[in-house]
Amino acid sequence: MGWKTKRHEAHIKTAPMFGYFSSCDCSRHTSCYPSRVVAGAWLVVFALLIALPGALHAQAGDSIPARFAAEQARDSVPQERGGPVSPDSADKIRALLRRPPASHPADARDYVGLPLGVAMLPLRMLAAGISVAAAGISQLLPEAEGPNIYERMVEWGLEPSVESLGYNAGDGIQLRLTRFAPAFIEGAASVIQAPGAAYVAFGLTTKDRMTDAGAKFRRLTEAQFWGVGIDSQEDDKSNYEWEQILLGGIWQAKVSDHLSFNSAAGWETNRTGPGQNDDLPDIRETFDPDSLYGSLQVVNYVVAGTKATVDFTHIDILQPRGVRFIGEAFYYGGTGSTDSDFLRLQGEVQGYIPFNQRQSFALRTLVETNPGWGQGVPFYYFAELGGDRDLRGFTTARFRDRDRLTWTVEWRYEAWRELQDRSRAEWFVFWDSGTVMPSIGEITSFRNDWGFGLRFATQTGPGAHFFFAWGDEGFRFGFRLISDF
C-alpha cells in the first residue's frame, strides 16, 4: 500500500551529521532512536528558523512559491551547527513553533456544557460514591508496597471496626485499643442513624478474643420515641436521653461448624432524662410518664442470657446459600428498688435460595416477645420496629411495643463482580412487613414498605449496603456498613 512518505527517510539520511551520534548504526532500528530524534529536533529548529521568515513574506502568487518550503529548508540545513541548545533557549524556539492548537477552542458547546455539568453534578457525585465502594480502593493499591493503613493500625494495636450501638441506636464506628492486651479499651460513636449515641468500654480479653470482661458506659442523648403500638402517630415524635452502665462479660463458643453460642451475664443500671434535641419535645411532655416505666426512675438489672445460632448457610462464590436459625433468650432481673423482671425471647430465620449464581431470593422472618413481671418492661427495652435492619421505610425504632413480628423478602442480583471473585456488588429489591403489639395474639395491623438498594459482598459474606425505601410515611434512604442478613 503506497502511502509511505519520504520525510522519515530524509531524517534517517541526515541523522549522522551530528558528531556525537555518528557512531550509531542506523541499520539497527533500536539504537537509532537517539540519533533520529535528536537529529529531527535539530532539523526542525533550523527548518523553522529558515522557513518561517520566508513563509511570512511569501507572495500569494500563482506558482505556490512556498511549496515544500519546510522540506527545502530541511535540505539546506547547514552541516555545522552552532552551540548546543539549552532548555532555556529551547523555550524560545518552542514559542516560535507554529503548531496545531493543543486543545479544541471554546465554542457553543461550552455554553451548554457549563449549566448542564452543574445540573448533573449530584448524579456524578453519586456515581463516584458508588464506584469508589464498588471498585474497592484497597484493590487498587499496589500490593507489594507493604501493609495498608488499616493493617498498620491493627498491627500497632488499634482496631477500627463497625459495630452496632445497641438498643435505640444504629451502627457506629468503633476503635479498640489492644496494644496492651489482655487489657482493652474501646469506644464507638454513631455514624448517621442516632446522633449523640456513643459508648466507651474497658476490660480484659482472652487471647482468642472469645471472652471479654469489663465495664461499659453507653449514652444516647437524642433517642427518639413516638409512643407505643403500631398505630403510634408520626406527629408525636419526642426525644429522651438514656445513660447506661454495664458491668459483666460475654463469652462466645463455636461448638461446631453449624452451631455457636454467644452468652452474656452482668449487671446494669439505666437512667433516662430529657432529650438534648431542642427541636423535639421531651417524652415526658408528650406522653404520660407514669405509663412509660423507666422514664422517671433509675432501673437496675442483673442480666443473663444466650444467643444460639444454627447455621446451615455457606458462601458459594460470594453468594450466600442455605438457612440460618437464631434463637435468643435473656433474663432481666430487677435489683435493689427496681420492681421489674422480664424475659426477652427472640427467634429469627434467614433463608437464601439461589436462582442461579447471579440471582437469589433472601427471606427473613423474626418474632420477639418480652413477657414481664412487676412493672414489666422499661419503654426503652420494648421491641423495636423500623430502621436499617427491618421495615426499612420507617425511621429507627419508629414503632415499639412488647412484642414484634416482621419479615422481609429480597430479590438479589449481581451488578458487578471482581475479576477474581474476591468481591461483588449486588442490587436488591425488597418488601418488608411488620407489626408490634402488646402480645402475639393482639395483632391489629401491619406496616409495609418496599425499595431497592445495593450491597457489597466479599468472600466472608455481605457487607456495606445502602437502600432507598418507600413506606406510608414517605421515602427513606439508609446506609449500613455491615450486613447481618
Partner: protein, 577 residues
Amino acid sequence: MLGRDRLPAALPALVLGALALSGCARGGSLPPLALRPQSIPYADTLPIHEPEEREPSEIWPLIRESTVGELGQPFDPDDWIYRNEALNLTHFDEVVNSAWFEHRITQRDLTAEQMRLGPTSLEGRPSPPYKVTRLKGAGISPGLWVEDGKGDIYLFKFDPPENLYLASAANTISNRLFWAAGFHTPEDYLVTFGQTSLVISEAEGAPTEEEVQEVLQKTAPLADGRYRAIASKLLPGTPKGPFRFRGTRKDDPNDYYLHQNRRELRGLYVVSAWTNHVDMRFANTMDVWIDPPGYLRHYLQDFGATLGSGTVRPHNPREGMEYNFDAWAFLARLPTFGFYHAGWEGKEFEVIDPSIGWLPVASYEPGAWKPNWPNAAFRSATVADGYWGAKIVVRFSDRLIRAAVEAGELPDQRAADTLTSILIARRDKTVNYWFGRVSPIEGVLVECTDASGPGFGVRFDDLGVAVGARYRSNTRYEWELRDEGRGRHWKGSSRAPGAGPARLHVAPPGAADACRAGFATEKPSSGHTDVSAERLAVLRIRAEKLGPTTTPRPRPANVYLFWISDREGYAVIGLEH
C-alpha cells in the same frame, strides 16, 4: 466504546441531535485541517530542564474515568454534537515522529527477523551469571531485579505455575507488535536458566536466599528443571514516572497537546484491542529522561496482560468486553432484575491452551472492545483515529505476525500456529470494522483537467478495496465539490473501476469526461503556506458498499484542494478522514 453501541450513550445524542449546531462541523470552530499549522516532527524532543520523578496515585484517575468519565459521557455536550478530532496532525491526517511515536511498520517493510527481534538486539541478550540485586516491588507477577554478566540491569518476571509460557510469551509477542506499530517499548528478552545461574548480590538491600526461593516457588520450572522468565531491560534513561492518558505533564514544556487529543494515544486503542491489551493504563507506561539532549520519551511497558494472558492467570471472558467497573453495565442491571446478561456472563469457559490463555475471535468486536479501566484517550477517539490505528494493524502481514509469535517461543508448533491464526483473524476483523467506518482513500491526486469545461479527474487508492473490506463490484463513490471561491458546488457518484486505482470525474452535471492529457499532475503536498480560504476547495468523497448492509454509512473523506489560477486547476493539499 468507539463503536457507540451503547444505548444510554446514544439517547442524549438522539434527543439533542436536532440541536446540533450547524456551525459545529467536524473540527468545531477550528479552521479546516489544511488551513491549520501542521504538527512538527520531533518538536517534543527539544531540551528541557530535568523533571522530577513522579509516582502520582492512579486511584483517583481510575475512579474518575470509571465514574464521571463514563457516566458523564452521555451528559457531555462534546459527545452529543460531535466528537473532537485529534489535533497533532499533518494536513494528510497523519502523525509525525515524536517522543511518543516513531513510524516503523507504517513507513517501511519490516523483515521477519526485525519483527522477531523487535526493540531487542542480539548483543543485548542477558548473559549469565544473573546476580539478584532486589525483589520486584510493584505489580502482581513474581519477579527479581537482576544484573547480568555484562553489567546490564533486567527485571525478570515469571509465569504462573499452572500456565507456564503464558505471560512470558504474551509479553514478548506484544512487545514486538507494539514496537513495530510505532510505540516506544523496552527491550524484553526471553530467558531460560538453571538455578545455578542465579547468584545473590552481596550489596546492601539484596534479598536473602529464602526470599529468592520464595519468588521462584510462585512459578514452576520447565520440564528440564530450568526456569523461564521475561527479562525486561532497564529503560535507556532515567525513569520519571508514568504518563497519563488525559491532560499534559506540567513539568515537561515539550508536552504540548492534551494527551486525549493525541492521535497516537487515541489510535492506540485499535492496536490494544487487536492484541487484547486490557491493562493499557497509566501504570504500564513510563516517561524516560533521555540525556543528552534532555527530553522525555514516552514508553509503553509490561505487556504481560495481553493476548490471552492476564499475567498471573489466563484472561477472563469478561476482559475486553467490560471494564473492571463498568458504570453503565452496572446501572443497566438494576431495572432488569438481573435478567440482563452480557454475552460473557454465566458461561463456563476453557482456555484455548494453557500457554495461550483466553483470546476470543468470534466474540471480539473491534469497536466495542474495552480495556479493564476506562482510558480518556480511548474514549476521546473517533472513527478517524480508529482508521488510523487500523492502518497500522493492516500492515502486519501474516508473515510478520507469525514472526512475532515465534519470538514468544511457545512450547509447541500447534500453540504457535493457533495463536498466529487468532491474531490474523482478529486483525482482519479489526481492519474490516474500521475501514468500513470511514472512506479509506489515500494517495489522492488531481490527474487531469477537462479539455473543455471546468471539470477535472481525480485518482486515489481505495484501501477498503485493497484489503478486501469491500469488493470493487459493489463499491460506489459519492462525491461533492464545494469551491466557494469559484462558486462551484457539484455532486456526483460513480462505481469503482474493475482494476487499478479509483478515478472520479469531478464536473458539473452532464459535462463530458474529456480529460486533457499532459496536465502536470500535482503530487500531494503539504507545504503551501499561502493557502487561504478563498483558494481552498473541498472534495468530499464517500466510499460505500452497495446493497443492504448492517453497518452505518461510512464517514466521507475530505480532500482539500488548492486552486492554481495560472494553470486553471487544482492541487491536493490535504486529506481528512
